[in-house]
Subunit: 356 residues, 2 copies
């Protein structure tokens, strides 16, 4: 993993432990984006070679590379602008109205809650919030959708999806690239994920898995050139029969190239070794915190470790001055570290000595 | 304008006449994006300095710089991902259903028609298509919205908005940065525009003007962190009271910096001189085509010039081989040149000699 770590210039300067917000940016991404934009500037963005080769061609490449990380087929993966965008796409496509209930948890990100909030305000369905750990048992006769985190951004706990027998939309922002995700064995209908966190890609790129039976059934609320199989008669709305019908806009080629370059790095020694190293570093760090008497939030085998602090905001600011970057979640009593395969034992020990 | 032209490397290689699809990319954009990403790679995207300074701070700067190009206030301008995104935002926010009609024209882009197509399919309103030039006279008692181009992407004609007395959504993809736009004197309710065309910015950035009375009345169908005034309780849906409630995601700082660098170039000698030079070049070119006996499509004083050809697709391919980049519109009998202030008389004369 030394090679992986060396691919990120930030580790020469900082103990960066906030991939759960935004992943570190690899040197290769800076280089490939500079080359892509130089090409844009030299030969333009207005001919067939640009659209068919650099734009559309890369969308296919992205789907092929990212789908295996979720255990799905490329045709089941839409390209979105963010996890939030994916959640909006799903919630606004579903037939939900008065008398229906969406069940969510008390550890959700605005990327889940804001889409549910507008849906409730505009369409009159109910939203019921229950403790994250109790979610599976709370599904009731009016529950038409469970919308919740796969991995809680607050604590790092992992949702037990198996007992849920209604449609499930997972916020996979802390799942994709962080832990081994298999949408088939999870049994979820939708998995909305980020490109800029654990996959180290650009802000503005996300991924959305949609189960094939849902693809066939749903018409998204938004549409554009890329969602149409026949863009010459857009009013007729001949949409793609696969997940492309849920795509958001077109991914700029420099962003696709950045995402692909970062995926190359993560795949170099096998993505499983990335998951395993991150999880064992995180487990070790959580254990060491507990040994020193800190109260670690209940967590699963994820890449997030949160511990209680009387003043998380002040702790984060103080640590930032010591060249350690992590975060707190507003309104929660925790400081949160995001631990990736790129982190070193040394920087985690330094963090430990600073907080314990 | 020699300095403006010299800012774009492409003109050393090609007669680039397709800003109506994607604008030329200035050298300054390549440089500023490379610097921005080097900063991302060096100090990360995960602390307060990144979010408050480089992300949120730039959003305000963009709104302040772009709003004057539409004659609106910064608080009336939402940041979207594209013109299509803006149209989707408006159409999905409006209360339209069975018995209502949206009036559109026969010269619309998929960015208008696809959102109307999904709206019709999902919500049961009618879409009536009439000839572009006859649109104002066709407004009827069931017409709840006119959704059409400000400047037709097919011909370069300009819509006469004044006689229309129902809500108007303009597709301003060929308006913003190309001609002097004033949403107040146009009297439109919504103006959806592109960042990557006449403003020479990145693919993935657009702008949406929303008239203040509509902002107050409408709840968008999608929401996220950036649309909320109080993101700590997203379900309560305390949205921004200005156009930020219609924002799409967060603009990555390197894209904002690119857009701002391009705006600096366009503003260097006053944006009015950019409009004036482009229009007079386009008028002159259209006149010269007509003098040589070509049939120029009826146009307004815009930056687009389209002329009839028995095989537009073949013409475009042949011209590309001669280092001239322009386009045809599928299903239309025209070759279309997009003429900007950055173009030279010499390259237009060369194009003329090739087509006449």
């Amino acid at each position: 993993m030394d090679e992986l770590r060396a691919a990120f210039p930030i580790f020469e300067r900082l103990a960066y432990l906030n991939a759960g917000t935004s992943g570190p940016v690899p040197r290769a991404a800076v280089e490939v984006v500079s080359r892509e934009l130089a090409t844009d500037a030299d030969v333009g963005r207005g001919d067939k070679a640009y659209f068919e080769g650099r734009v559309i061609g890369r969308l296919d490449a992205l789907r092929e590379r990212v789908a295996p990380l979720l255990g799905c087929a490329p045709g089941e993966l839409a390209l979105t602008d963010s996890t939030t965008g994916g959640v909006n796409t799903v919630v606004s496509a579903l037939d939900l109205g008065p008398g229906d209930e969406v069940l969510t948890s008390d550890e959700e990100h605005p990327g889940v809650l804001a889409p549910l909030g507008v849906g409730r305000a505009r369409r009159g369905f109910a939203v019921r919030t229950v403790p994250f750990g109790e979610l599976p048992g709370e599904v009731g006769p009016r529950t038409k959708l469970v919308a919740a985190s796969h991995v809680s951004w607050v604590t790092g706990r992992i949702l037990d999806v198996a007992p849920i027998d209604v449609p499930v939309l997972l916020d996979g922002a802390q799942g994709i690239g962080a832990i081994d995700v298999d949408v088939g064995s999870l049994g979820c209908d939708f998995y909305a994920a980020s490109g800029q966190k654990w996959l180290c890609g650009p802000l503005g790129l996300g991924y959305l898995y949609v189960r094939p039976d849902q693809i066939a059934e749903l018409t998204p609320s938004h549409a554009g050139y890329g969602t149409l199989a026949d863009p010459e008669d857009p009013l007729a709305l001949n949409m793609h029969e696969d997940a492309r019908r849920f795509d958001t806009g077109l991914v700029p080629p420099h962003h696709a190239a950045w995402a692909l370059a970062a995926l190359d790095l993560l795949a170099a020694d096998g993505i499983e070794s990335v998951y395993e190293r991150a999880a064992s570093l995180a487990d070790g760090f959580a254990g060491a915190l507990a040994e020193r008497g800190l109260e670690v939030a209940p967590r699963g085998r994820s890449t997030l470790v949160a511990w209680r602090s009387p003043d998380p905001e002040a702790d984060v600011a103080t640590l930032r001055e010591q060249d350690v970057v992590l975060r707190y979640i507003p309104g929660r009593p925790y400081v949160r570290a995001s631990i990736g395969a790129w982190n070193s034992e040394e920087e985690l020990e330094r963090l430990l000595s600073l907080v314990a």
